[in-house]
């Protein structure tokens, strides 16, 4: 079973281009509607989120189901506008507002307790993020991304050649852009937010995606060394074919753990593992179909140019 990635490279390029374009359009729409390319969570824009659960061990506390209107009244009564209020499960409540200081928050909690009953402090989760912290997170995240890109370029130029390195980074951009695009769509359609763990996910995708590309490059280099006179198209095709099972199997094992995390890991880790699932799948895809074909194309160009020069 051998197949040629080189022959259909225009198809692969168009597919990737289409997905990336879709993502960019979604980000543009999102930018207009939400003021950011992806739906930002508390971590980036600041605010307070209260996640409360009623204490059902107190008699008659949970007799009536939570009345959303009563909750809304209590929140509005504090003079807070632009809130999002959600009932989570049967007894849970999630309220997101602008950043509240300790007095405002205590007042809100008291008002809520009066309206719908007391809460279990052991099941409470409170997050308050000041507006500056979010900006810091974003800028240091982008900086870390650039630093790791630079580190990878330097290492690959040293181990391989600089054109390998540049193309690996293009493949990386491809994976990151697609993941961002899909999350932008998810943010618009399902209201999924990106938080600080999403930044972590993107950086992890960076590391993993290059790993896949490196394995194929390693094989290309090896074949080049053994058979220097083979045409580059065949070398790349052979390298991809010889490493194909490995690429697929490695991705499968990682996806197995990620699916497990996605299913059982709970709320916090769900979007994190989803981002990694998308990114890693794209990483495997881009290593096989994008990084290899681009390298081949580049070497063809260079060859024909050097032939021209010789003429």
């Amino acid at each position: 079973m051998t197949f040629s990635v080189i022959k259909q490279r225009r198809i692969w390029w168009s597919i990737s281009f289409a997905i990336i374009l879709g993502g960019l359009i979604s980000m543009a729409i999102s930018w207009q509607q939400l003021g950011a390319p992806l739906r930002p969570s508390l971590d980036f824009v600041g605010g307070t989120r209260l996640q409360l659960e009623r204490d059902c061990s107190v008699a008659t506390n949970c007799a009536a189901p939570i009345n959303l209107n009563a909750v809304r009244e209590a929140v509005d009564g504090q003079g807070l506008t632009n809130n999002s209020i959600q009932i989570v499960g049967k007894e849970g409540l999630s309220i997101r507002t602008k950043t509240l200081d300790v007095d405002q928050r205590t007042k809100l909690q008291t008002a809520l307790t009066q309206k719908i009953g007391s809460f279990d402090p052991k099941k409470t989760q409170i997050d308050t993020v000041g507006p500056t912290v979010g900006k810091q997170l974003l800028s240091s995240g982008l900086l870390a991304l650039l630093v790791s890109f630079a580190g990878i370029v330097v290492y690959l130029s040293f181990r391989f050649q600089s054109d390998y390195a540049v193309i690996a980074i293009i493949a990386l951009f491809h994976d990151v852009l697609i993941t961002l695009g899909i999350f932008s769509v998810l943010g618009l359609v399902l209201g999924i937010e990106v938080d600080s763990l999403f930044v972590v996910a993107i950086l992890t995708i960076t590391g993993f995606s290059v790993t896949d590309t490196v394995v194929i490059y390693d094989r290309i280099r090896e074949i080049l060394h053994l058979h220097p006179d083979l045409p580059i198209q065949q070398i790349v095709d052979d390298a991809v074919n010889q490493t194909l099972t490995r690429s697929i199997n490695t991705t499968i094992t990682v996806l197995l753990t990620l699916v497990s995390l996605f299913l059982f890991g709970g709320e916090t880790l769900r979007n994190f593992s989803l981002a990694l699932i998308i990114g890693f799948t794209m990483g495997a895809y881009s290593s096989i179909f994008i990084a290899s074909t681009l390298l081949c194309w580049w070497r063809e160009q260079r060859q024909s140019r050097s032939v021209d020069a010789a003429v």
């Binding site: 279990d120 790791s148 580190g151 990878i152 290492y155 996806l255 753990t257 990620l258 699916v259």
Partner: protein, 473 residues
């Protein structure tokens, strides 16, 4: 066999050591798993203090520590983060109201004078205060919350009573007049002292204050956030002029350590930098327990799926990779304990993820082995070649992931750093288990004739090569 024996011994020794480490050193859980509050305090520069340096941050941290101690939370942790942040962790606190109220705001340092005829009272209160403090330290180790709260209340009453014995000067001599404070080495004798320095106006106020109480036996009360931190008396020789010139020396039974502590407290109190709470994360204890439960399910689920896949696809080598994977999990967990990693939810995610990545090296090796078998090499040679020729790919892929980890670590706020740290430690352990462990175990298995069948390594091997291989063996 001869070559494998020392390595096998090494693996067994490491395993025993790892299990011992796991059973003796407990891994501390992060606040997101055990429940508690984490507050990030932002220190802001002002026109007077345009830049927050390490020295200033340290001084502010001291002030924050003092306030946190006043909360009476056991195992509270205060540390500096980055250039201008202080992280406060309060385990078990599900409503950080009290903490929020005391932690924000600029430090209040004030020099007051002792009221007349209160010497005996002050002495009694101070000695009972030091008893209560000692008791509090003792109680915090035990962790009995009710007792701690009770003693804390007593301590607070005591502090308030002490404050009653002092009166404010007019105008008040506050920390903003204090320019600097430093521990000074002993001039004569063994004791260190603390030198303080006021600005022009502060120097005048201080001279007035000292003139009033010099030689009376009463003391200056130095209060930080309403708590008396030092009460030096003033010698009679200053009765006419007071301590003029804006400089003074507090001497007493200071060691280097205590002199340093006091001077850092004074510096912290003199800083006009406002602190504000930038971030609060509170997780209820029950929610934390749920998270632990869930991550155990996810971890076990992930491991089992990977184990099944490896053995299903790679047969005998797969089974050996599975053994190596279990060794990996144990060794990595032991490494966490050894390196003092605090386990957080993202940290666990990193660990689980690394289990999926850990078999990557084995997949590379076994695919190589199969290729060599298909090209007609003997089993033993194929296995050796598989390990040798996969080596460079393995190193390259580890290094690139480590680069991303390093960037993550450097970016480093709490959650993110935990993830990068666990992932990176996992990668190092993986180099050992995937290569040394699985190779040793595989070569060991090849000692047994019943395992020496190429079909166990590569199903559907073309028959010609198979018979060749067997003939060569």
């Amino acid at each position: 066999m001869q070559r494998q024996r020392p390595l096998l011994a090494l693996i067994i020794v490491l395993l025993i050591a790892a299990i011992t480490v796991i059973t003796t050193i407990p891994i501390p859980l992060g606040l997101d798993l055990q429940g508690g509050s984490q507050l990030t305090i932002q220190v802001k520069p002002t026109p007077e203090v345009p830049q927050i340096t390490e020295r200033e941050l340290e001084a502010v941290k001291k002030v924050v520590e003092g306030r946190v101690n006043g909360l009476g939370v056991s195992e509270a942790l205060v540390q500096t983060v980055g250039k201008d942040q202080i992280l406060v962790q309060l385990p078990g606190v599900s409503d950080p109201q009290a903490a929020e109220r005391v932690l924000g705001g600029t430090a209040q340092l004030e020099f007051k004078t002792q009221k007349p005829n209160t010497e005996a009272q002050l002495f009694a209160l101070q000695s009972s205060r030091s008893e209560q403090r000692a008791k509090q330290d003792e109680l915090r180790k035990g962790g009995d919350q009710a007792e701690i709260a009770k003693n804390q209340a007593a301590l607070q009453n005591n502090n308030a009573a002490i404050a009653e014995l002092f009166e404010r000067t007019n105008p008040p001599l506050t920390g903003r007049y204090l320019k600097d404070a430093n521990a000074e080495p002993p001039q004569a004798g063994p004791s260190w002292s603390v030198g303080i320095k006021f600005d022009q106006q502060g120097g005048d106020l201080f001279a007035d204050l000292t003139k009033k109480i010099a030689g009376t036996g009463r003391g200056i009360g130095i209060f930080l956030d309403s708590e008396l931190i030092s009460s030096p008396s003033v010698a009679a020789q200053y009765a006419t002029t007071g301590i003029a010139g804006g400089q003074a020396q507090i001497s007493g039974n200071f060691t280097l350590q205590t002199a340093n502590d006091l001077s850092v407290q004074l510096r912290g109190g003199s800083l006009p930098v406002p602190v504000s709470i930038g971030e609060i994360r509170t997780v209820g204890a029950t929610l934390g327990k749920d998270s632990i439960q869930r991550s155990i399910y996810a971890g076990v689920g992930g491991i089992v799926l990977v184990l099944i896949f490896m053995v299903g696809y790679y047969r005998l080598p797969g089974a050996i990779a599975d053994v190596a994977l279990l060794i990996y999990a144990i060794l990595t967990y032991a490494t966490f304990a050894l390196f003092g990693v605090t386990l957080t939810l993202p940290g666990i995610a990193g660990f689980i993820l690394s289990i999926g990545m850990a078999v990557d090296s084995n997949v590379l090796i076994f695919e190589r082995t199969r290729e060599e078998l298909r090209s007609g090499k003997t089993l033993y040679r194929s296995v050796e070649a598989g390990f040798q020729r996969a080596w460079s790919s393995i190193v390259d892929s580890h290094v690139t992931t480590l680069i991303a980890c390093a960037a993550l670590f450097w970016l480093g706020a709490g959650l993110v750093r935990g993830f990068a740290y666990t992932l990176a430690l996992g990668l190092f352990v993986n180099l050992f288990t995937a290569i040394v462990c699985s190779r040793t175990l595989l070569l060991l298995a090849l000692q047994f004739p019943s395992f020496r069948k190429p079909q166990l390594f590569c199903p559907n091997l073309p028959t010609i090569t198979k018979s060749q291989t067997e003939a060569q063996l």
